[in-house]
Symmetry: D3
């Protein structure tokens, strides 16, 4: 059941949560492209329609998000919590997200990081997802009883901007420099035309990934921050360290 | 060259450094047993003969270390730096260790952690090994020129006691609960009879590993602390998270 | 009023808060047994009946908690906040807890730690208790005016699992290795039969305490994390340091 | 052997190390006065004669230090390591200090904190003392064999200036506001006339202690930073928390 | 637009938020006096009338706050959120504060620090202000649309007590030792006669400022903690470092 | 003497220390260009000739460094400590650097950061410079007596690679996006042709500066890490905060 050096590990669904229609793509789109190209199913759950943003209407944002998800090989679902720029940490929200986790039954869950000093919706969604992963496992939560409990394999946080990178978690870096992966990621970010046009978002992310790639000895790389230490079957799976300079 | 889900990763030699004859075994012996049983070569470099310890003569300690290494499937080499309880951080020492790294050409290097509040020799050896891994890569160091430069894949720190665990590095946990692995580890620790007899060292380590195992959902586990973020080819290699409670 | 080397310090009541019927016992039951055996009164306030757990009915849980408290020499009181797995940080809750603090007038208060990455109810209750200790002192809070303000001596956090230990507070370790203390603690944990049966909870706690005991040079020890620095009348009260290896 | 609420704890000798003739007094002189007045023996070991200071000759400094120690009820001994402003971390120094520890056989040891950004001699002496406390326990260190090994009870760090306070250790605060204690401390600082005259050293320390006292609810208090968690026999010894505002 | 060595920087309004009528004055009143004396407009927004305090009626508190603001050269406005000791983190509050930011259009915003272990209202107001600064910039928040979006220059946190100082932000120190500045600050604190009379609040703050001044080489100084790194046009603006001892 | 809003601050010499011929340029060359263009004198002290590097001879490295310094408007001086890749922390070195500080009498000093996990020479030189800044102020150090003591204004650390950025110091960001500044910096890095040719060093630094610029709302920016909090005369000098996203 655990991966071994010779067997192909089971690729269970990846479930990514975003507070706004473009957060997943800007925060870790390259990882999604990498995973779907490797045969893993990916599913996005987006918790607002970006209705408080300076640019773009909710209708545009939904269209953009659907196009972007398609480019990354993912499916996308919109849910309503408190609305863009209005998210609060409520148990009712965490239970709603836990119900989705029980339904989708993912191996890997992605959520925005818990670092507070960013868009207020981001760390709050991160907290809700983290709590939801716990609630999804508890047998006795009444509102969740219709679907059997589910334990995920790992929760990773992504950081939409450098400020959101958790200083106290050692990240894992995913190499996203394969040309088709990088191309899909850029296209997915550009699909959010209402956002990408007005500011340097795409350049910010590609610059970040290039800086990590330069340090790690590959073209571009994206950091994910594990919620719990990785349990490895052996050091054969520990990859190489990011140390080029 | 990078591991992929279907190919067996190349298992390059593991090189472990210890300040005293029993440090590697007490700090991470179970990992050594796991790796050698998976077909990886392991080599120990021990930098004193334990001549300042309260129990055991240097001659006894060497015999014990050789027996212990054999039980773990590793070879062992003794070198002289400043002597037990006398180690200082000198560049000459780091160059000596770098020459060994160039000779052995390991993929993975293990060293005691850099946390200061333990046996003074431990963090100092950790610093020397970390520096040696850098020096082994520099083309122009005169004293090293006879052997070509070598870049390792990753440096991991082990912690001989809980106090030595680095609070600012997210560890990876290696599952060592396979019966033959656990048995080999215990036997290797007991082979250091002059040390194991007088105090609760073996119980300390097994209790630590059991506590980690209980948290990680396996029998026993050992934590290693990577010097650099892991670069992974995909999340298929990210294992599962340690979250049982 | 302050303890002096020759006088017996006044043993004011200990008030412990738990989010679920077994949290206090699993987190710091040995400390309770130690204190009550030394003549201190102990009182538990439990803020749910465990109704969201995978095992055990609320009715069973209450019976178990009462039996367990009795084994530890404590009295127990159940209150309702938002319900198991539904706790939110609301000022109304903090005021409710502050009213209890004013009524019980404890010297020492125990609460689950503020570390976020555990059962969502735990750190939230910790926050509520910390706030309640402040509110209990403020003269003008209308809802609390019927009972005179009360200032506690110290708030300590307990950690239900190792993940919940605050990394930034130096703990104090309480030696719980006296046979009757250890026995009472284990019995109290086992009294939560609906929980203890299904998983390794008791072993987890005893292993934790044994690991601390090995480091501190005693049989078993439990860590508590003070909310504020300890003010000591002299170093005669500073105990000994935990440094066995 | 362990302190109990009713017995008077055994007061073993306090051994304080200072890099310069006035460091102990400015860093924690009030604690010394408190302890000697409670019947504990105190001994100072000073590792230079202040020969690199801007003010005062070595001969003056020695006279001042002797007078100051007398005012605090302590004896004083001068040793030579590398000289003022020239201290390096050498094992030979740590062994020299370990020999003193074996000779004096203290319960409590005080040393300057390990925080790097202060007078370079301070953290280096702190490291040497910490290592010396370990070496004093190792049975096999040749240079120390003439005197039996000795394990201290606890090592505390003092901070000569606020910058030197370790941010990652929860301090214990010692109440030094008894009039005779405070008076002795001030007199001891003023005894270092060559230093106290030229700058605001005495005011700095009294202001620091007053600020801590205001927070802790007493007149003046001094913080000490334990190297290891305190092991307490019960919460009766945990004092009260520093929380006045 | 950016300050240059020769031009006088534009002094945009300073907007300070306080949870209670005296928080701004006790936390950073000297800075306000300094800034208004240099020609900057200052405006206080106070989010309760201190109705839960042990001393003083709401009516008294308002009178005191007005007098105190006048002494510091600031104007003052009272708003109602949840009431003293009842503040919760709600998006509706952040939007209310964001509307004020859009109306006042400040350059600098001051708020209580985010450190949790103080009066519960303080860090909550800090969070609300931080979020409000973000919301004030988002074009699409419906409730804010009547006034154009506004981006502040910098958010600084003040600490009402030493416990509230953020350990992970390097502060900037403002020299407040000019006699008229210091005098105005003390007068402003004393204007809160209902609070200042009963406890040592004024002494606490002056002792804090004196301790910082002693370290920084000036009479008195106050620390502010920037939410974001300072962007400087050149090192000519980096001031001098606080290093007197 | 202190800067005021209307007067031009005195621009005292900037003194930058580098362990290797290209460290200053790669770590903070843009800041040097900015400062010299504003009329400040800059002086480099380089402590090896890069003789252990994989590429370039010592003679080439010296020529490159002189050319590079000229492009940045700085003068350069080479000194010998232990040689490239051989640097140790010795007091004799710190005294040598302190003598240079007394001779040059700089306002601002720049040194490589103290973060350990980089080229071993970098943090060691950082420590030596930090200590040298202290020693330069002590009146009684014999070896320094020929030149009067000197107190610098501020010590800033630069980070040659992202790994070297101190996680616990809030940086100041210097805007280096003026075309002539950026061009001079790039030219200065390229002047180290033996290094720049073989690897992506120039791209690494420009990518880093661009990422910071994107966050700070300017083209490119470089972070410096102050050793001590900045003492500012008023908030008019606090610049703006780096918060673009």
């Amino acid at each position: 059941m655990k991966p071994t050096p010779t067997s192909r590990p089971e690729l269970r669904t990846l479930l990514a949560f975003g507070a706004h229609p473009d957060d997943i793509e800007f925060g870790c789109g390259g990882v999604i492209a990498k995973e779907t190209r490797a045969g893993r199913k990916a599913r996005f759950v987006i918790c607002s329609r970006g209705e408080a943003a300076s640019h773009g209407t909710p209708a545009q944002r939904v269209v953009e998000a659907k196009k972007s998800a398609r480019l990354l090989g993912a499916t996308v679902e919109f849910i309503k919590l408190d609305g863009d720029a209005h998210l609060e940490v409520r148990v009712a929200h965490a239970i709603k997200l836990a119900a989705i986790i029980r339904r989708v039954r993912p191996g890997i869950v992605l959520a925005p990081s818990l670092v507070e000093n960013q868009h207020p919706d981001h760390p709050r969604l991160g907290q809700l997802v983290r709590d939801a992963c716990r609630l999804a496992r508890f047998g006795g939560v009444k509102a969740l009883r219709r679907v059997p409990a589910h334990a995920i394999e790992q929760l990773f946080y992504y950081a939409v901007t450098p400020e959101a990178e958790p200083p106290d978690i050692t990240p894992v870096l995913i190499d996203v420099s394969a040309p088709d992966v990088l191309k899909a990621w850029i296209a997915a970010m550009q699909a959010h035309a209402s956002q990408a046009a007005s500011r340097n978002y795409v350049e910010l992310q590609i610059t970040r990934a290039r800086l990590r790639g330069l340090r790690a000895g590959c073209g571009h790389a994206i950091a994910l921050f594990p919620n719990d230490p990785l349990v490895l079957d052996s050091l054969a799976h520990a990859g190489r360290g990011a140390r080029q300079f």
